[in-house]
Amino acid sequence: MKVTLFATCIVDMFQSDVGIATVEVLERLGCEIVFPAQQVCCGQPAYNSGYVEDAKKAMKKMIAAFEDAEVIVTPSGSCATMFKDYQHVFQDDPDWRSRAERLAEKTYELTEFIVDVLKIEDVGAKLEGIATYHPSCHMTRLLGVKDAPMKLLSHVEGLEMQPLPNAQNCCGFGGTFSVKMGNISEQMVDEKVDSVTETKASYLIGADGGCLMNIGGRMQRRGKPVKVMHIAEVLNSR
């Protein structure tokens, strides 16, 4: 299957390894990957801060960049949600709205794509150790992807999954919230780090780069020895 990759700006600039893992896993599962070089950021940082008009510029760019794609896959639940929301952003603009609707229909988060479209739950990955999974808010609540990551992780050979206490609580990232309300964000991420520590896991797994950058950055600052892994990297471990 021909898959058009929406890498996300975080992956492009800060987490190449996640992008590489995504490509390698999908290729191994028989997909042919296309990467439109015109892609930039989905616009979420500006959009969520209330700068809708500024964000629309990036959104139009993205709609155009992915217009020819048959299937779009992204290793981020939050950015996939943003793609699906474009149609509401352009609700008063019939031309862009219908282009945004077509974009939404063909957009999938990575684990959702593997489980629901490719119908694969065991990707043949192997990783020794204890891990816990942080279900990111936009992916679970807004995109509605809850089970796919757990199904995939349950088939990773050697990996023992421990439930994360209060997993449903946000990690405190929230885009610009993390710097605008830094002191509240700190308390939230600290509670998340404490919950991760409580599981005694060696790996913290997630499916959203922003949340992982937040929790990982705080764990590193606090000297916690837990390794943060994007689920694409786990699925690419052999």
Partner: protein, 476 residues
């Protein structure tokens, strides 16, 4: 006290509240208990999503025809001998109640829990008239005794206090000499309140839902105090927000079920009361005079706008009980009697952006609130809408942020700029980078790196790797 509970800045409030480790422990514990109970109650009922949709539909229908149902309510109540007053503002509502108090030469006024009377600051107005105003909901009673400590939650107002603190309040104000056992504390409050009930001149209640078809005021309580407040005094006043109404008892039943399950995980509360006008011939109890005060106070200004759905709220606090921000900053940080996600949406609408423009930003937009709401108010979307209004219509965002976002718009929509920026990012950040980590970042990264490390930009961007990868596999 009115809706606004202090003059401190939001940031100062937050910093102060986050120091209160007891409060934070109490809130976290309560959140976990209430969340679990709500989920269990929803599961026990079954088809929760359908019930939510039904609740939403009832609320939307009622709001779309609010004028019709308020008219029906008013006519039906008047037929039963009740008086109805529409108050456009808090002042008009307070003046009307004050007028009744004067006419009756009332001294002692007993109240059942009501958020709308907190919102309009009724108690303070009546106290200025020389009245003795007594809250009879146990939580509200404790707060009132404690020199009018404001509520920190809309269902459990004294959530931020523990039993030791409550014992101290009772000891100081009521010469209480027993232990901090909740049963003993409650018994003592009951004995005190019983005397008050018997001497009350006027009873004041709020209204969970008025029922248009019968002209009734529906009340949902657990302590039975609302029954005492409405049965014993000779004059009864109900104060309701103008949107708190349902067409018939059929919808009342649905919404009460959603309310009690969402608020405290109960199938029903101990008491569900419908008050319909004054005592009529042959009835043995109830007031001889019944007044309903319907308060607008900014609500009609929300009708018909993009924020209308906030008026669907049934005040269950499910959104507050799951909010990860409220969890750490508590109710008093919001500076409003309406805290949490619902407060962050409603307060700026009723009280304006001058005092409350920070509240819509006190959220990560994690949508836990939207998920929990039994009448499907899209709370996180309304918070986002506030931000858009603040930035784009009101122009109240800081200049530095505006510039940054403008630059974002230009940078992210121009491929040459994005390409150049992302390509040099690694070398620009090199002076701040050690072991692939930035622990003291410049500019906008400063706030981030005050508490967490930031990854160094990739030396090779993903897109560069991909190009190479395509070449190696012979595809490009």
């Amino acid at each position: 006290m009115a809706m606004k509970i202090g003059n401190e800045k939001f940031k100062d409030n937050v910093n102060k509240q986050m120091e209160d480790t007891f409060m934070r422990g109490a809130v976290a514990g309560a959140q976990e208990r209430l969340r679990t109970r709500r989920l269990d109650a929803a599961e026990e009922l079954g088809n929760w999503e359908e019930w939510r949709s039904h609740g939403e539909e009832i609320r939307q229908h009622t709001l779309d025809h609010l004028d019709y149902y308020l008219q029906e309510l008013s006519e039906n109540l008047q037929k039963r001998g009740g008086h109805v007053f529409f108050a456009a503002t808090a002042e008009e509502a307070n003046d009307y109640v004050k007028g009744i108090v004067k006419e009756k030469r009332a001294k002692k006024i007993l109240k059942a829990k009501s958020m709308v009377t907190e919102e309009i600051g009724l108690n303070a107005v009546l106290e200025q008239e020389g009245c003795d105003v007594i809250e009879t909901d146990l939580g509200e009673y404790i707060l009132q005794l404690d020199d009018h400590d404001p509520p920190s939650h809309i269902v459990t107002p004294a959530l931020h206090k523990n039993k030791e603190q409550i014992k101290d309040v009772f000891a100081e104000k009521l010469e209480y000499k027993q232990t901090s056992e909740p049963e003993e504390l409650a018994l003592h409050a009951r004995e005190k309140l019983r005397q008050e009930f018997l001497q009350a001149d006027i009873g004041i209640t709020g209204c969970n839902f008025a029922i248009a078809e019968s002209g009734s005021v529906g009340l949902v309580t657990n302590e039975g105090n609302a029954g005492m407040v409405s049965d014993l005094p000779d004059t009864q006043i109900c104060v309701m927000g103008m949107e708190r109404i349902v067409p018939t008892f059929e919808e009342f039943e649905v919404l009460v079920g959603l309310l009690t399950r969402s608020a405290v995980g109960q199938k029903l509360t101990s008491y569900i009361t419908a008050l319909t006008g004054p005592r009529t011939a042959g009835e043995v109890d109830g007031p001889s005079e019944f007044h309903l005060v319907i308060v607008d106070n900014g609500r009609s200004g929300i009708l018909g706008t993009e924020f209308q759905s906030v008026l669907q709220c049934i005040r269950c606090a499910a959104c507050i009980n799951v909010c990860p921000v409220y969890r750490h900053i508590g109710g008093h940080s919001y500076n409003s009697i309406y805290p949490g996600p619902i407060g962050a949406v409603l307060t700026p609408l009723l009280g304006g952006y001058d005092d409350f423009k920070e509240l819509p930003y006190a959220s990560t937009l994690c949508a836990a609130c939207t998920d929990a709401c039994p009448v499907k108010i899209p709370l996180h979307q309304l918070l986002h809408r506030h931000r858009q209004v603040i930035v784009e219509k009101e122009g109240r965002a800081p200049i530095s942020e505006k510039m940054a976002m403008k630059a974002f718009g230009i940078g992210a929509s121009s491929n040459p700029l994005y390409a150049a920026g992302s390509k040099v990012a690694s070398s620009v950040m090199k002076p701040f980078t050690k072991d692939e980590t930035i622990s003291k970042g410049p500019g906008p990264l400063k706030a981030w790196t005050e508490i967490r490390d930031f990854p160094a930009p990739n030396k090779e961007r993903f897109r560069d790797w991909f190009k190479q990868h395509q070449k190696e596999s012979g595809k490009a």
